[in-house]
């Protein structure tokens, strides 16, 4: 059974049709990267997966539970799915450590002392144990994003969704975040990543999905899709982002 199943998902905001029938599956340990022009529904798709947005047509299952079934306890599903936002969205009144610990405490009912140990462990995993007592405003963007990844990890998620995790960062800060993501990939984490970091996609993705106008236009292993895209629009798009983002950033 696949970990994530997305079936014919449609979503519109008012009159604007954002997703027009998205279907794909992910197995445990798989990494998929979604690329595509802006306004094409990539973020919306991720938000549908953990129930932050509700599709008007189509169904989504995670780990055998149907996200799109109104009877499902959505909070229970969300506790198994990490979400890393473009703008970090750390809790401003909490230290890095408490940002990471609050999920296990409030959602899983873990003891505070235990959660803080766990949080420290996760901060170590993203290389920020020395920033445990810092507040978000005292951290750089790259550090904030790493804390937000630790926050997701502390819930012991089955799947992590990344919504353009490096787009809000200065170029020199992207590397540290991509490195953490690479490490996660090597550890076998299941990841669904919206990103234009082609270097990252090439290095770790099992499949790239090219989304355009609310549909998956083309998908394939990075070695094929990146070097030899079949679709004309994929080709144009790849050409554009390479111009925009430079050649690949594989130094990470």
């Amino acid at each position: 059974m696949s970990l994530l199943r997305v079936e014919d998902v449609h979503k519109s905001y008012d009159d604007l049709m954002v997703l027009r029938g998205i279907t794909f599956q992910m197995d445990r340990g798989e990494i998929k990267v979604i690329i595509g022009p802006s306004g094409t529904g990539k973020s919306t798709l991720l938000r549908c997966v953990n129930g932050l947005a509700y599709p008007e047509k189509g169904r989504i299952w995670i780990d055998g539970e149907e996200v799109t079934d109104p009877k499902t306890n959505i909070n229970h599903i969300r506790s198994k799915v990490g979400f890393v936002f473009q703008s970090f969205n750390l809790f401003a009144h909490l230290t890095a450590l408490d940002n990471v610990a609050i999920g296990p405490v409030k959602v899983k009912g873990m003891k505070k002392s235990e959660a803080r140990l766990l949080a420290m462990e996760e901060l170590r995993r993203v290389g920020l144990e020395d920033k445990a007592d810092a507040y978000p405003a005292e951290l750089s963007g790259g550090q904030q994003q790493r804390v937000s990844i630790a926050r997701a990890l502390a819930m012991n998620p089955k799947l992590i969704l990344f919504d353009e995790p490096t787009s809000a960062l200065d170029p020199e800060l992207m590397g540290e975040v991509l490195k953490v993501m690479m490490d996660l990939a090597k550890e076998g984490m299941t990841m669904l990543v919206v990103s234009h970091e082609i270097g990252f996609a090439r290095a770790v993705a099992d499949e790239i999905l090219f989304l355009d106008e609310g549909k998956i236009i083309e998908k394939g292993h990075p070695s094929e899709l990146l070097t030899n895209p079949a679709n004309k629009r994929t080709k144009e798009f790849l050409h554009q982002i390479i111009e925009l983002y430079g050649e690949e950033r594989e130094k990470v």
């Binding site: 979400f83 750390l90 009144h93 999920g103 409030k106």
Partner: protein
């Protein structure tokens, strides 16, 4: 000058008795007004249509009518429908209901200034709406609101003097009584004013200390 000190020594105990009553009313008003104000704010931000309408109507009603009218209405008006209150209770309730309306607006503003991204992040962790409000929104909103909210405890300390119109023997009423019995209104009111000034200054300092104590680095940054 020595005359004034002489006068102060004689009548200060009487005024301080009134001050105790003033502070007692003030404490009830702040407690009741803050709790009720917070509920009104939550009703305005998160309430369904009827709750939103009720809380909004309440705020408009109490901000839109004079405080004097509210106090007189509670004390003289409510007995006609069978609600009989002592002067102190009537004044405390009216003032608390009044400050709640203003506080609700401060709270609402602070709640709405929390970035929606943080709310989404909390929901994405699996928190319920109530957990998000109590763990993410209120801890930040309440910190942020202190500078504006501080107006209300200070205003209320002064506005409590309005209670003298329904016969509450608080600080202002005592000063007037002393004035009538000694014909030294100047000294009596000056003394009362000084007491109010000392109290409000101390209160302002305390609130300032509270604000600094609960401040976290993040909150100073306005995005």
């Amino acid at each position: 000058m020595t005359e004034f000190f002489e006068f102060a020594r004689t009548y200060l105990p009487v005024l301080l008795e009134g001050t105790a009553l003033t502070l007692q009313m003030w404490a009830w008003c702040i407690l009741g007004g803050t709790v009720f104000g917070l509920l009104l704010a939550l009703g305005r931000v998160y309430g369904n249509r009827p709750i939103y309408a009720l809380s909004t109507g309440y705020v408009e009603l109490f901000r839109g009518t004079p405080m004097l009218v509210q106090v007189l209405f509670v004390y003289f008006g409510l007995p006609e429908i069978g609600i009989l209150l002592s002067p102190i209770a009537a004044a405390s309730i009216a003032l608390a209901m009044n400050t709640a309306a203003y506080q609700a607006e401060y709270f609402r503003g602070a709640i709405q200034s929390i970035e929606t991204g943080q709310v989404e992040a909390a929901r994405a962790l699996g928190m319920t709406q109530i957990q998000v409000i109590s763990n993410i929104i209120l801890p930040q909103a309440l910190r942020m609101v202190i500078p504006q909210w501080s107006n209300e405890p200070i205003l209320l300390l002064k506005y409590s003097s309005i209670a003298f119109v329904i016969g509450v023997p608080e600080l202002m009423a005592r000063a007037q009584m002393i004035g009538y019995s000694t014909f030294r209104f100047f000294d009596a009111f000056l003394l009362a004013a000084l007491i109010y000034l000392i109290l409000t200054t101390a209160l302002a300092q305390g609130l300032d200390r509270l604000e600094r104590k609960v401040r976290v680095p993040t909150m100073q940054i306005q995005r």
